[in-house]
Symmetry: C2
Amino acid sequence: MKKVLALLLSAVLVPLCAQKDETETIKSIYTHALTQQQGYAWLKKLTDIGGRLAGSAEANQAVQEFQKVCDSLGFTTFLQEVTVPHWVRGPKETAYYTLNGKRYEVAICALGGSVATPEKGLQAEVVEITSFEQLEAMTDELEGKIAFYNIPMNPAFINTFYAYGSAVKQRYVGALEASKKGAIGVVARSLSSSINPYPHTGSMTYADAERQIPACAISTRHAEQLSKELEKNPTLSFHFKMAPEYRDSVTSYNLVAEWKGSEKPDEVIVIGGHVDSWDLGTGAHDDGAGCIHSLEAVWLLQQLNLMPKRTVRVVFFMNEEFGLNGAKEYARLSKKDKVNHVIAIESDAGGFSPRGISMVAPEDLKERIRGLRHYLEPYGLHEFSENGSGADISQLKTDKLVMIGLRPDSHRYFEVHHSSQDVLARVNARELEMGSATLAALIYLLDKNDIVAP
Amino acid sequence: MKKVLALLLSAVLVPLCAQKDETETIKSIYTHALTQQQGYAWLKKLTDIGGRLAGSAEANQAVQEFQKVCDSLGFTTFLQEVTVPHWVRGPKETAYYTLNGKRYEVAICALGGSVATPEKGLQAEVVEITSFEQLEAMTDELEGKIAFYNIPMNPAFINTFYAYGSAVKQRYVGALEASKKGAIGVVARSLSSSINPYPHTGSMTYADAERQIPACAISTRHAEQLSKELEKNPTLSFHFKMAPEYRDSVTSYNLVAEWKGSEKPDEVIVIGGHVDSWDLGTGAHDDGAGCIHSLEAVWLLQQLNLMPKRTVRVVFFMNEEFGLNGAKEYARLSKKDKVNHVIAIESDAGGFSPRGISMVAPEDLKERIRGLRHYLEPYGLHEFSENGSGADISQLKTDKLVMIGLRPDSHRYFEVHHSSQDVLARVNARELEMGSATLAALIYLLDKNDIVAP
């Protein structure tokens, strides 16, 4: 009877004690992050390099400098060669419209991948397009004109990523579709969640277009202004000038920093963000924050002697913005080298106050991850959703892989996204650190509780 | 049997339909707030007036201008006279320390209620104090010296209000306690969650001090710098100069805007924030956001034809920062006029992304409020805590009253709180609107479901 009682007691007490220990451990991770703010210092170092468009010297400089950081921390580091396109914006773009002989300057920027305008600029009448249904119904209205897409992000979405998703078409295929209708240029409303004077760039495609027409983004403030003027003066003339160009492709790199697992070295937990960014700002949120979250998460575990049983890899992926080349190459090499990824984590939604995670994983493992919620709720993590993980790690997808994306509060993201405003001053140190600590806690809990497919 | 079935079905279907209706209604509230952004426009109007220190012309101007706004919306409005102290900062404060004949300027501001320094300033050696235990143990070390409190907010707290609470003593009673030990002046570290060059003011008390010594706040950046210098040069001399003064008390006002209830006009739901602010910024978060949240919440219900069965009162309380005079007078008049408050709601924690609410209420009602959680979780409201409500409405406390405080994300609050940085540019329109919509949804749900004490 005594023996049975002892067994019973241990069955109850051991998990209770373990739970208490884990609660304390999670707390120590957040305390260390918020007290040391090492991530914020690293993000300063990264953004001080400047914008890191794939193919630029800055992108490669970032890889090199952070390889040194990882080396100094005792990681095994290596670089993976990645060939990336090298598109260059050229001199600052200019644009204006003319009314009664007076020029009104507006703020634009070339979309990523756009061709240049003629050297003296492109001038034509403007046709405003407020939906793709309207565009489809057009016959010759765009012939010889500039297509002005003016489709705002829908502010009613609580998660602004859905608003972005519903409006991004004008940027991505706006030129392709307008060229089929005879347009000679495209001005697309910036994908910004507020009215502001900063144009927001981003990728576009010409796909199989017969004519490649120049495409720029106009700030939301000037889009509103232009739209108002067009109501009164439908034949007003718009002029824009930009000289971007593709140069020869460039050899660039993924940075991989590895820490061998003590008990299960052949099982790999990969965590990463993308080190490239757009060139208008310094990619502080997109995706400097994600790279630093990933590095700092593992650093926190290292500092607190909590390194996982499994091997951990921090990856700074190259060129998410302009073709996912780094992620594809990482996936190809992993397959070739038979790397057994069991968990993949990505942060690519900004350095804001974390709200939750999204998961792609076998059903039973998702259920077990939801079971960890009580550890993270005290830190503001409540949303455990099933809306994907991240673009870079999605290249690794298998039926067994546990894939997780960090989900910070999204209200402020599209105010700065892909614009000159995506700089360190827009990142709050505490919010950034909360993200790093959350990812560290996640790695710790998933590894300790063996939440991986058999 | 048919009748029984019909009854059974109606018992199941009616609540289900009601729930669906309510879900749609809540959604319409958030959509209207995020789409119209009326609150942000009002916050601009309010902050354009300037800082609104109690007793200032700006504080009274704000009351008058928003009375007009409320009148134009069809509310019955009235003002309640409140006598408030009138402390005036005077010319910009200056401070420096001297090392090897060189002056090092540091940023300070007078604490609210401080006396002036002598006209030429106050100069003395500095003694650094890093805890109240250290102060208590002192004998004559402070005699004729300036006490330099340097107690940082503890960054490990997830909710920064706790960090504030644990460090605020140096500001509030720093001068009182140091004067007992012979100090002739006080320099207190700003209550800021980051290292920055902006001093943060706030209230202080002399209580029954025999000597009233001048007290200022020093920016966290300069507090760190001064501390470092003191290690090397313990006898360095510090100089500060400020000329604040109390003038005659002033007649000011609470603004009350009322909408009579359609079914239960004698039961009152009061919602408010404080219209006064500190003078260094324009009180955008503290507590412009709370006033606008309150007004906009009721405006949203009005716009969507959802006005409660009960009477609703929006109150802009006067002088929370400097003595709670407005709240006390509102409570006194309510008692005198036998106003039957059943629900009181306050927003005074900034215009950031809402995270939850805190409640003070009878146990059974708290349980019913928690039962509403599923309506608000889709909008990011997860934390239903029991940590108080708000300073202004706390004056109305009874055993029966349902008291609720809005709890926005707190990570950024103490970066701007009581400093020159508390301005409109630090408020994100979407985050502000989420707060207003949340309060509107709360009023709607509490009223519709009769979550009030009998």
